[in-house]
């Protein structure tokens, strides 16, 4: 098994792990973490595509690598926007859980915890 295939399989496993975390963790910040795991898994898959495209003296295909670089920056921007929304939700309602089915379990935090 070549290193690039191995990295691709790690990427696949990371996508699975992140998906699980995204569904199961009720806390939004943890969901953002899980979402970033999915993202980096997908980037690794791009990485193996880039590595398999090695040709013409380059050890990689530069196009997927460049797409991963823009992807990392966009993923950060999305995380920052999500964090801002969560903080605002917390300020507004004192809650940070997204648990619609089970409103009784929502904690009420007086004064937004500060």
């Amino acid at each position: 098994m070549t290193p690039s295939t191995l990295a691709g399989l790690v990427g696949a496993a990371l996508v699975g792990l992140g998906l699980y975390g995204l569904i199961v963790n009720p806390q939004p910040l943890r969901k953002i973490l899980a979402f970033n795991l999915i993202g980096s898994g997908v980037f690794l898959v791009f990485g193996i595509v880039a590595r398999k495209g090695a040709a013409a003296g380059f050890p990689f295909d530069p196009v997927p690598q460049a797409m991963v670089i823009t992807g990392i920056v966009v993923a950060f921007a999305a995380s920052a926007l999500a964090v801002a929304l969560i903080l605002r939700l917390h300020e507004e309602t004192g809650q940070v859980l997204l648990d619609e089915e089970n409103p009784a379990s929502l904690p009420t935090q007086e004064g937004a915890g500060k």
């Binding site: 295939t5 496993a13 699975g16 699980y20 569904i23 199961v24 595509v49 670089i69």
Partner: protein
């Protein structure tokens, strides 16, 4: 060669173990620390995939800046961490989520194993046209010359993210400054770091920007490093997050995409189509665009971490 293979397998297992911890950790802080460690390990993996450009971006943005964003917001959400234990999802949900994720991972793994080797590639074309740009780093050439539309739109996405983050501010604070990043009384060690590490870091950032034309590096990586240095200065309270209505900040935030669009239109006028760089001038134009991109990235990342204006964050 076998030692290298063992190293690769060990690294892969380590990445997976830290990722599992990031998902399974009970506390948010532990999860964020795990995520930062995960980013570091991932950049080692990127080195093994012959992608130092991506490794540097992952270390700087994926691990460093994202880690700081999450840990800062985690501290602002303090007390909310305990609630997560109370609201654990039901076993059936967890089982079906596990089954779904397993299915997704297995499908992806199948696709990866079925990839043709060697795969379809644009590397020969990159090699063929690299001389025309005057650059030595094909990744930079892809970013600024051949897929410049992508890169420009990505800068616009950054600007939109800033607009989004600012727009969640309450009306009361509009035009004000975000909450300070640091604590009220910075310690001596922090000031020492600010006085010694930050100048060195700026030097390293400029170096990585400059070599980016011919070697791994470039505006993204250098911008992220400069952003990190600015954030250290703000954590040491030597400077404060600027108010959102300050003109120079807004200019810095839009400089990158604006210069990019202007360069594209100039290409339309001078060489016949959008983003055409006239022969012989490609490298200076690319470096010019990159310089403004550097400025925009270095300004945008700290602004995104600082969050919406909230002048009286600590009542």
């Amino acid at each position: 060669m076998s030692v290298l293979q063992i190293l690769d397998v060990g690294l892969a297992l380590l990445v997976l173990a830290v990722a599992v911890w990031t998902i399974a950790a009970r506390e948010i802080f532990g999860a964020v620390v795990g995520y930062v460690a995960y980013g570091l390990l991932l950049s080692l993996v990127w080195i093994r995939l012959f992608a130092p450009d991506v490794a540097l971006t992952e270390a700087a943005i994926g691990s460093g800046v994202t880690g700081v964003l999450l840990v800062t917001s985690g501290a602002r959400l303090k007390g909310a961490g305990k609630a997560s234990a109370a609201a654990k999802p039901s076993l059936s949900l967890r089982l079906s989520a596990a089954a779904l994720s397993l299915l997704a991972a297995a499908a992806l793994a199948g696709v990866i194993l079925a990839l043709p080797d060697p795969g379809p590639t644009l590397a020969p074309e990159a090699r063929q046209h690299l001389a025309a740009t005057g650059l030595g780093n094909p990744v930079t050439a892809v970013l600024i010359a051949w897929r410049s539309f992508d890169t420009m739109l990505e800068k616009i996405v950054l600007a939109l993210a800033v607009v989004g983050v600012w727009s969640v501010a309450s009306d009361l604070y509009w035009g004000g400054a975000p909450a300070p990043l640091g604590r009220a009384n910075p310690q001596g060690a922090l000031l020492l770091l600010e006085q010694t590490l930050v100048p060195l870091g700026i030097l390293v950032g400029v170096h990585i920007f400059w070599v980016g034309a011919d070697a791994p590096g470039g505006a993204f990586q250098a911008g992220a490093i400069l952003a990190a240095m600015w954030m250290i200065v703000m954590i040491a309270r030597v400077s404060e997050p600027p108010p959102v209505n300050s003109r120079w900040l807004r200019l810095a935030l839009v400089a990158g995409p604006a210069v990019f669009i202007v360069a594209g239109l100039a290409g339309l006028g001078m060489a016949g189509y959008f983003f055409a760089y006239p022969d012989g001038f490609a490298k200076p134009i690319i470096l010019f665009i990159e310089a403004f991109m550097l400025l925009t990235i270095a300004a945008t990342l700290p602004v995104l971490v600082a969050g919406p204006p909230r002048r009286s964050f600590r009542p």
